[in-house]
Point group: C3
Chain length 333, copies 3
């Protein structure tokens, strides 16, 4: 494996191999597997799980890592091609990124959506501008519309818990004070579809996932025997659900328009997952969330502190699956 | 040892064991003792010594570490139970802290006093909310009213220098432009009492240590044969002192009231330790300070650059004692 | 070697030894050479290459490192001797720096020019105040008027590319929105002179390098058989040049006067290196730059993306030469 940028770049069998490797390394640690190997990570945006779990994962395999956070101890980096750099950014990614790649054996990059122009973000313009100048193994630590590490961790979490491949999986929009990126909803919908699940995207009007994201997920479902549909009817969506995956994202109707988005979401504060959401779900329906989650606005204490919540296991699995990804990337297998 | 949160959790014999282990590791390094072990650290507040010495200590024992600084490369974390999270904090410690604990073999947390409500701070409300959700070995990297790593380092420093167990130990308030937390004064007073010393807390009116802190120290003194009292009479306090421990803290009479505290301290700028403070002290009386120290406002150059100052040795002993703490926590002994 | 602070502290033979060692470690890695060794780094200013390459270099030699960034997760440090510290800085470098040195086997410090008083900066007042209290091997990670790691990397880059020792080397001022420090122009001019090159400093009026810097370079040239002169005539300077080293710096005529400097540079936006600058240069004339570089204001895309640019190799050689420096410092050879 040369790059880990998108679960859609892999066949289902390859995902299965990664998950098998993750389980093998959990059961039989290999503390010297990556001895002498260095992971470089560039964070254009904040991180907690990714930052900690990749460093821990490298350490558990005997390797090391370094972290660069542009704008914080490092100057800002420009991503636009052809830019006349007379503003705040002191360096272009066309210099900075290959330089960092030359210091390490694999590079990880986090670059959230710009949040202004949907087409720009859907095309992964910023991330791809950087990926194009990296000749080392590369990991997507979350880009404008993707988060493959989270998707793989969530897949393993459902496997760990025995959630059937064809179970009903509901991705539900939940409230947040601001518009958040589409990376996790897009990656989650695709992952669940690729896993063969009956995927329902539950969201209020104005928050439909863009057609490109839905089509990509449907293409994965067609190969796996799953399905993907969307609705704004909460009752119908959650009927018989075995997984409720809560996630916040911004209005796609008013993408990049904070005022219009804000007006829309001001009427949606009841989109906070409470115990009564599960009234017609499967008895053992799980609550998933990629974290960070805002308590009592996105998901209530009663749910996060109750038996349905598997968010800790999801977060822990970031470590286990990323170790498998690093292993394959850095062993060149 | 499962946790290192408060020197008061240990018997004197256990403190002695830690100090013996620290000395043994100084004399006979064990560069592979913690091979494969990972320390995670969360800093809600700035750090220099703690940040550097814990990383160095893990490395010297063959382990590794990662650092998370909420609000700086990581979003802010909410600590209040039941909070409706529609403000700045994107994640609650009830998620974030156990997630980080799941990535490492031991976790360290720094969370200074809130500085508004004395009862809230004395109860270690914020730190305890986090400690409650950690199931890995845990280290207090300084909490609202405690700093056990500093206290242990100071104990060892006095042992190193041959300061008698029953020597006169004066903790003196010194000037600072702002109200600082009670963590070090509280931990220091308790440590010196537990060591068996004749402890005098020297402070101006308005800065008496809270009764809970004095009582805890007196309880330790009762077991060790030491004593604890307080005064605002500098001459009398320093008479025959063998240690002058300088420290800044906020008014306890006006806790959380910056204006009243400021008015009070504006008249106290002569509380800057100068050579003449030692006129009636023991000839070899030492100047201790946990650092950071402001020169020529808290302690004068003439003292810090003179022969009495042992602040460098105190700081160096942060490394030696913390290596012992890490060794015991991570070896599970 | 005890310290690596200035290329001028070394004989040419010692530079040659360092470069030979760098090449040897490139060809024959020694992944355990610095096992158990710890590098501490203090960054008073932002960094990308230095931060990443020193961490990577230590890791490639089996050692570890920690990073302190005053003002960012660590309080600000005061550098002025005798300061009455009632302002923003919470700690003096006279405490902070030796403390950090006591936690590691070698210390690196980055402290840019203050940019107000040329004499203060030329005397390396701030860096020297810190160096004076460090008793461990010390590395200059860029000071007010020096950057020996960059200079050594550039020397190796020219060796790697077969640039003759006596080739014509033009350091040219280029445009930047703000006044930048003299560290790289000073170090580069001296390095090229010490290498034996025909050095021409090309700069507009108001940006002449200070006499002390020119004299130091000329002294090196006298020993190496090189030469150093300056001009503002671009055509004449670049005639037959084999290296064009582009660099931004502030007005020396109006040092510390942002308004006067700004007025001067506002008329100099044509000092952006384009392909036509090379019209009369040697056919294979290289474009060098220490990075970060602003595209299309300091150097045009057409040059940075064209075959003349060797900036990536310069940056990569930061890693190779610094590994040699660390090896010598930490092996004590």
């Amino acid at each position: 494996m040369k790059r880990f940028l998108d679960l859609a770049d892999l066949q289902r069998e390859e995902v299965q191999e990664l998950l098998d490797l993750a389980r093998r390394l959990e059961a039989h640690p290999e503390p010297q597997a990556l001895a002498g190997k260095i992971l470089g990570m560039v964070f254009f945006n904040p991180s907690l799980r990714t930052l900690a779990s990749f460093q821990a994962g490298m350490a558990k395999l005997g390797g090391t890592s370094f972290v660069i956070t542009p704008g914080q101890g490092t100057w800002q980096l420009e991503t636009r091609l052809g830019a006349v750099m007379n503003g705040a950014a002191a360096e272009h990614v066309r210099e900075g990124i290959p330089v960092l790649a030359s210091y390490c054996d694999a590079l990880g990059i986090r670059a959230f959506a710009d949040g202004k122009d949907l087409r720009y973000d859907l095309a992964e313009t910023a991330f791809n501008a950087m990926a194009a100048v990296v000749d080392k193994p590369l990991v997507n630590l979350e880009s404008a519309v993707n988060h493959p590490c989270q998707a793989l961790a969530d897949w393993k979490t459902m496997d760990d818990l025995g959630v059937p491949r064809n179970a009903k999986f509901v991705l539900s929009w939940v409230w947040h004070p601001r518009a958040l990126p589409l990376a996790v909803p897009a990656a989650t919908t695709h992952m669940a579809a690729m896993r063969g699940m009956e995927v329902v995207v539950l969201r209020p009007e104005g928050f439909a996932l863009p057609p490109q994201i839905m089509e990509k997920a449907r293409a994965a479902a067609a190969l796996s025997g799953g399905s993907v549909r969307e609705t704004s009817d909460r009752r119908e969506a959650l009927e018989g659900a075995q997984v409720l995956y809560a996630k916040e994202w911004g209005s796609t109707t008013y993408y990049g328009d904070a005022a219009a988005d804000g007006e829309l979401r001001a009427r949606l504060t009841d989109w906070c997952v409470r115990n009564d959401w599960f009234a017609h779900a499967a008895l053992d329906c799980r609550l998933m969330h990629c974290l960070p989650v805002r308590r009592n606005t996105a998901v209530a204490d009663e749910v996060l502190d109750g038996p349905r919540s598997v968010v800790q296991r999801e977060a822990y699995n970031r470590l286990t699956v990323q170790m498998a990804v690093l292993y394959k990337l850095l062993k060149g297998i």
